[in-house]
């Protein structure tokens, strides 16, 4: 990774002092993402954790999801309108998944009420 020179835009302004590269923060988040994935797989292989497998995996993958969206996609730092146009449909998408699972997987197990 050779050091590169700052390129100049057409007006001769240099941009390199405007930004400091936040690679450390990003690398830490990348590390956390990798660790969570490792933990998920570990939980998957440990039989003793079978009863909490589903909730644990849901929480962990949601954490990864939020980390990527909030930091890598900058929603945390960006204008709230970006979040609104994304979270509102995502809320409905989650509702679709939950609704379908309830209708097809949970209600039928209720016997007389199904």
């Amino acid at each position: 990774m050779a050091e590169s020179h700052a390129i100049l835009d057409e007006h001769g302004h240099s941009h390199d002092e405007e930004h400091h590269v936040g690679w450390k923060k990003y690398a830490v988040i990348g590390l956390v993402l990798a660790i969570i994935t490792g933990v998920e797989v570990a939980i998957f292989y440990v039989d003793a954790l079978a009863p909490v497998l589903v909730p644990a995996l849901l929480v962990l993958s949601a954490a990864k999801f939020f980390l990527v969206v909030q930091y890598y996609m900058h929603l945390k730092m960006d204008h709230p309108i970006f979040g609104r146009v994304f979270w509102a449909p995502l809320f409905l998408a989650v509702l679709v998944v939950i609704g379908m699972v309830i209708l097809f997987k949970i209600l039928p197990t209720y016997g007389v009420f199904s």
């Binding site: 835009d9 007006h11 302004h13 309108i81 146009v85 509102a88 449909p89 409905l92 509702l95 679709v96 609704g99 379908m100 209708l103 097809f104 209600l107 209720y110 009420f113 199904s114």
Partner: protein
Amino acid sequence: MATAEVHVHTPITQPTKKKSVIWDWMTTVDHKKIGILYGVTALFFFIVAGIEATLIRIQLAKPENAFLGPDVYNQIFTMHGTTMIFLVGMPMAVAMFNYIVPLQIGARDVAFPRLNALSYWIFLFGAIFMNFSFLLGAAPNGGWFGYAPLTSTQYGPGLNIDFWALGLQALGVASIMGGVNFVTTIIQLRAPGMRLMRMPLFTWMTLFTSFLLITALPVFAVALFLVTFDRFWATNFFVMQSGGDPMVWQHLFWMFGHPEVYILILPAFGIVSEIIPTFSRKPLFGYAVMVYSGALIALIGWGVWAHHMFASGMGPIADAFFTISTMIIAIPTGVKIFNWIATMWGGRIQFSTAMLHAVGMLITFTIGGVSGVMHATSPHDLQQTDTYFVVAHFHYVLIGGLILAIFGGLYFWFPKLTGRMMNERLGKWQFWIYFIGFNVTFMPQHWIGLLGMPRRIFTYSADLNLASLNMLSTVGVFIQIAGVAMLAGNIIWSARRGRVASENPWNAATLEWATTSPPAEHNFNQIPTVHSREPMWVEADQVRASTLGPMEPHMHMPPNSYWPIFTAVGVVATFILFMTNIWWMPLVGLVWTVIGAINWAYEPV
């Protein structure tokens, strides 16, 4: 970055290179022209769907009629429903979004003008493709909601369902792109001072409709892909021998299908919310409540879908949930009706043709709403489902709600589109004739349904004693035809000979009335700054000083582009080429699309 670049822009007044008129329309990116294209196409398909409806009613005019026969009847009622919803209702609304919303928010165009053109061409090619099936005698025949397993290759051999699934897939792509475009337009391109809570109600309803388009249509796209893959690539999604479950289709379809109902009716609410204040000479009563109730309808509209499926045996928990949620959604809808009435209360009401349509819509839509609440109750619904009562209900909502509002909007905005007024005398005759014809057609169907006549069956026994009510309903259709013919005549006559319209012939309050009729390509000479919800009532002089004042320097309008229509060919071809039954053929269309998209990306705008 410095702002010193020197831009040389083609001044708008400079005569552009002479190209043919047709080429200009094929490559246009002007939201007003695209709006007109949508509107004309939708009116054409309105006539097509009307002919289909007439054939249905002729077949049902007397018992044991042999006019159509079951096979053709299935195709006709399927295409009537599909056409009315996807090729008439949605594009009529989109036509008005296109023409009116940029003007109402004080913008020069939509956020993505070329994407807008792409939406239109995909819509047009998809619509032609689907109707092309008639020439092969293989029009879709599984009903507009295409229940599995009617769409399987086992029960639906032949090309009929292929045309339906692939054609709708193309239309859905166009709708999603339109939705993205309008959400972005409304967020981004409002004139200075036009805060969200100053936006006209029609713009608000466009925003909510667009939100429903971008959320509901992807669900439908997935459902249609599953059907397509079942048919062409032998997947098992709805194949019961392999464990496939037709109920999955029903849930997916109505998860899209119910928001779709609001995609159709929210624009109507928006139109009526513009017409009623204008002709009552009063600001809309309860503006904020109207906005929030629209938002609530769009949101709760996502949690009621299974009220279409009470007869499918979901069990008491699901039935109870969807009964309650459906009843709750009637509340914000009722709030809107009361607000419109309160707007008229104490106003100086002027019964123009547009206002007549709006008030007529309130009456018929309320009737449709009440019958809707009736079958929101799941036990009640079991009695009514799949009968003509349901047919009566949704025609009161969609014809009595959407189409009457669209007609009203047409009378209202026609002067802006053409610079000429529509004929009011003819218009009022047309309203009453159409309104009476509509009620004569559909009011008896409530009784026909309650007396037990099922929908979608090509004939009925004379023993049912339904002949006279059915004949009455058929007579109503011909009264409606007279009304539509008068409307068509009025449009054609008025476009050429109507009285010349001023900028604001109705003395309405919103920004589209601040510019010339019809507006110049750039809409406004200068973008106005607004300080109120009713700029043309509160601050008209100051607004006009901008919109009609000296031309803004450095105005840049995007040039015409042929990449949208080029790309649209690729998108629609991708779906059509499934019908070759060669697995890689759709990729040809995809490659065409990618070539179009890359050239598009590097085109100077």
